[in-house]
């Protein structure tokens, strides 16, 4: 690890810290980026990677420590200031505008862009940028909508370069790309670095990190573990740097009675798009299954497909010997599927409606006589659910948006509980943005649901959650299954290894 500041560094962080409330997200982290270097930033969820990236790109400011850009101390107070300092950021979520042309997208949002565009003047520059990122054959006037995800990623990189960037920050650029596309993106990154640019590469995929990067900085719990040359370490060493001293795994906390059962859910040959293929799972009553993998591993797509939200999905899903039609959420619900997305505010809760209305939203049939609601039984059902999820019944008339993240998530999960129609419960990141206490309560709710005979499949990127909640674990990477294990036979190291660089199962063509 570099203790002294390199004068030639493009950017160096010197013991920067940042707290959010009581949580110290980044704690005294130092590292530097040299010209022409590809520098990986690694760490498990919550390690502080994204906060470091936000400091460099001007989205948050450090509480302590300083950031030195090209030899002079700089405060980066906004993304615009970062851009003026020559720092370009390519986000995990693509921000290209599909209906605009490639050339327009490359010029989009640049601070030096003139008010009136003069295509003649910029055409040569756009061509140069496209060549640099390996899009030699692409016509700049083509719309971006015709490009693959990888092509769009390259256009974004081209846009970042077009702003005369000296530092290029890439956050999980390969999370949703196929292998061939990843190769294209890598060679673009290499040719960018060859021009003297520094690249910060944030990734969960450790084999990629070792293949592409010169050095790697590992963070854990907000603190710096080490900065190492990638030539000096292997994947196993990287994994143990990320995990640190793992306490011996807690014994499986599930009651044995939940474990016996017969096959309730059978998924086979499930495919979504070109990446996520050949997924199968046999699910017993009362069992909790984890789909464990990093962002972009395909678990979200699998859950969405079973819930009827991926129109292009193919394959078989059989629940209690009835084949499910994958066409629409309506038919999935009719087949006994309850699905909770990883985005409770976006496509989950009805934030403007009351907690009571949210809780009964999926069981209006149970509290109606014909088309008319039975207000007494509606109230009773809502109060019962409030007690189950540990919500004070006096708060039922409050709009859902008034509740904390943890309580919102409990309301979200509450609406699937005590429903005799629910045979398969699908949860995507069931405790995202929830504090430790809320997480334990939510895990208990899920286990209780399983004990009542429901089959539960959840997707998670968080090792602790997977180990705490699952009976059986399916690890995934790049859209494919890597391994299948009973909970009792895995530990954190094995899981993280499979999630970050495991060899996928063969999929019959």
């Amino acid at each position: 690890m570099s203790e002294t500041v390199d004068k030639t560094a493009l950017i160096s962080l010197e013991t920067v810290s940042r707290s959010f409330g009581a949580i110290r997200a980044v704690d005294g982290v130092s590292f530097d980026l040299r010209p022409g270097e590809i520098h990986a930033l690694c760490g498990h969820n919550g390690a502080g990677k994204s906060t470091v990236v936000k400091m460099i790109t001007g989205l948050v400011q450090p509480d302590e420590g300083r950031i030195v850009v090209s030899g002079s101390e700089s405060s980066i107070r906004s993304p615009q200031e970062a851009q003026e300092l020559g720092i370009a950021f390519v986000d995990q979520e693509l921000s290209v505008v599909p209906i605009l042309s490639v050339a327009d997208n490359i010029q989009l949002g640049g601070v030096s862009e003139p008010f009136f565009n003069r295509p003649g003047k910029t055409r040569g520059r756009v061509r140069e940028l496209l060549d640099m990122v390996g899009l030699q054959g692409l016509d700049p006037s083509d719309p971006v909508s015709g490009l693959s995800m990888g092509g769009r990623q390259l256009v974004e990189i081209g846009r970042a370069l077009g702003r005369d960037a000296r530092v290029l920050v890439l956050d999980e650029p390969t999370a949703t790309l196929s292998t061939a596309e990843i190769e294209h993106v890598f060679s673009a990154i290499r040719s960018v670095a060859a021009t003297g640019c520094g690249v910060i590469f944030v990734s969960h995929r450790l084999d990629e990190v070792l293949e592409l990067c010169d050095r790697v900085t590992v963070l854990r719990d907000g603190k710096l573990v080490d900065t190492a040359d990638t030539s000096a370490i292997d994947v196993d060493q990287l994994v143990s740097m990320m995990l640190g001293d793992v306490p011996p795994a807690a014994a499986p906390s599930l009651p044995e009675q939940g474990r016996a059962g017969r096959t309730a859910v059978e998924v086979s040959g499930l495919a979504v798009g070109a990446r996520t293929r050949g997924f199968w799972l046999k699910g017993d009553h009362g069992h909790v299954y984890a789909l464990a993998g990093q962002v972009g591993c395909g678990a979200t797509e699998i859950l969405r497909a079973i819930a009827g939200l991926e129109p292009t999905a193919t394959g078989n899903v059989v629940i209690d010997e009835r084949r499910l039609s994958l066409g629409s959420p309506e038919s999935a619900v009719a087949g006994g599927v309850s699905y909770l997305s990883n985005d409770r505010k976006g496509d989950g809760l009805f934030l403007g409606l009351t907690a009571e209305e949210n809780l009964v939203s999926t069981r209006l049939d149970d509290v109606s006589r014909g088309p008319l609601l039975n207000m007494a039984s509606l109230k009773k059902a809502a109060v019962g659910l409030a007690e189950t999820i540990g919500l004070a019944p006096e708060r039922l008339p409050e709009p859902a948006e008034n509740f904390s993240g943890g309580n919102q998530q409990k309301i979200f999960i509450g609406r699937t509980l005590d429903r005799s129609e629910t045979k398969l419960l699908l949860l995507d990141e069931p405790t995202r943005g929830v504090d430790v206490k809320g997480r334990m309560e939510i895990h208990k709710l899920v286990r209780d649901a399983a004990r009542d005979g429901t089959t539960v499949i959840f997707a998670s990127t968080e090792i602790d959650e997977i180990l705490d909640l699952a009976d059986d674990i399916v690890t995934m990477r790049s859209g494919l299954v890597v391994g299948r294990h009973p909970r009792s036979e895995v530990d954190a190291e094995l899981l993280l290894g499979e999630m970050t660089h495991g060899q996928p199962e063969k999929v019959p063509a």
């Binding site: 959420p329 309506e330 403007g352 409606l353 109606s368």
Partner: protein
């Protein structure tokens, strides 16, 4: 009457803590304006000769009958998140023409078939909007053109006149108010009951609050859309029946600015433009507020232009206040 609206607008926001300074100031200014306007109207009402006479109150109440019925449907549409229907006025006109034509089969069959006819026209539009995500404004504007075209083709655009006088009881006056006022109250009561006390009503609020969440939760979006616009179509058909009877005949010119007046009443009643919040009876309050102000301007001799402008200003202020208040949600 204006007290009703200023009361809802001035009520302290429950989540003021999370709101930003600038928005709070604008909100305070606007709420102050509403309060001042309410005082001006009150002062105007007191100093205007004849405003508090029984005749005038009856005139105000009678004037909200037709717009009130159409506004019930408009409110349900806006709560469902489909903004507005631009075709409800035209639907009222075409159902009026249908009703007058159907009178030759008897009054009761004519009423029943007209309501079913209105319901079907609405439900077809609503299914397209709910199931296939058609843009409600574009679709309903197109429906206006289709309906007008069909009517011209089949009736050459002339006025349909009733075959006999069996229907005239629809124009009777009871306790000083026309039957259409009581029918409107009935439509409001049914609308309120459906929205508050049925499974369908709850689902409409859910779709309006977060259509994506409603879809993901497996709600039948097509059926709900068909129900919303079918209900609005049926309410517009009731308005069409009463309008046809009132005018002793029907043509496409019958309904004038009915669509816009219904939208104004819905907005002044505080329904959230983006859906999920609002109620049918508040829309009735909105309609009464507009009718009261219009009446006051009329009595004081202001021109038609001033009346329209004041109506527009009222809608703008209420929409901004409702918007700012709903933005006060902590995110």
């Amino acid at each position: 009457m204006s007290g009703g609206v200023s009361g809802t607008a001035v009520g302290a926001p429950e989540h003021a803590a999370a709101s930003r300074g600038a928005r709070r100031i604008i909100l305070l200014i606007l709420q102050g304006l509403v309060a001042v306007a309410a005082l001006v109207i009150l002062a105007g009402a007191i100093t205007t000769q004849g405003f508090f006479s029984l005749d005038n109150v009856q005139a105000i109440l009678a004037s909200v009958g037709f717009v009130g019925m159409v506004a019930v449907g408009m409110t349900v549409i806006m709560i469902s998140g489909s903004f507005v229907s631009m075709s409800l006025g035209t639907q009222a006109a075409v159902t009026a023409i249908f009703f007058i034509w159907a009178l030759k089969f008897g009054v009761a069959p004519a009423i029943a078939t007209t309501i079913v006819f209105g319901l079907v026209i609405g439900a077809i539009q609503g299914y397209a909007i709910g199931a296939f995500g058609a843009n409600p404004i574009v679709l309903t504007i197109a429906v206006v053109a289709v309906i007008e075209g069909l009517v011209v083709v089949f009736s050459s655009g002339g006025t349909q006149t009733p075959p006999d006088n069996a229907y005239t009881f629809l124009n009777d006056t009871h306790f000083g108010l026309p039957l259409s006022f009581y029918v409107m109250l009935g439509v409001v009561a049914i609308g309120e009951l459906i929205m508050r006390r049925t499974r369908f009503g709850k689902q409409v609020y859910m779709v309006g609050d977060n259509p994506l969440a409603a879809y993901v939760a497996g709600l039948p979006m097509g059926k709900i859309g068909a129900g919303v616009f079918g209900l609005a179509g049926a309410a517009a058909a009731v308005a069409g029946i009463m309008l046809g009877a009132y005018n002793q005949g029907a043509s496409l010119l019958l309904t004038g600015s009915l669509t816009y007046d219904a939208i104004a009443a819905t907005l002044v009643g505080g329904t959230l433009v983006s859906g999920g919040k609002g109620s049918v009876w508040k829309t009735l309050v909105g309609a009464l507020v507009i009718a009261t102000i219009t009446d006051l301007l009329l009595l004081r001799g202001y021109s038609n232009g001033v009346q329209i402008m004041v109506k527009g200003l009222l809608v703008i202020v209420v929409v901004i206040v409702v918007h700012l208040r709903s933005q006060g949600r902590p995110s």
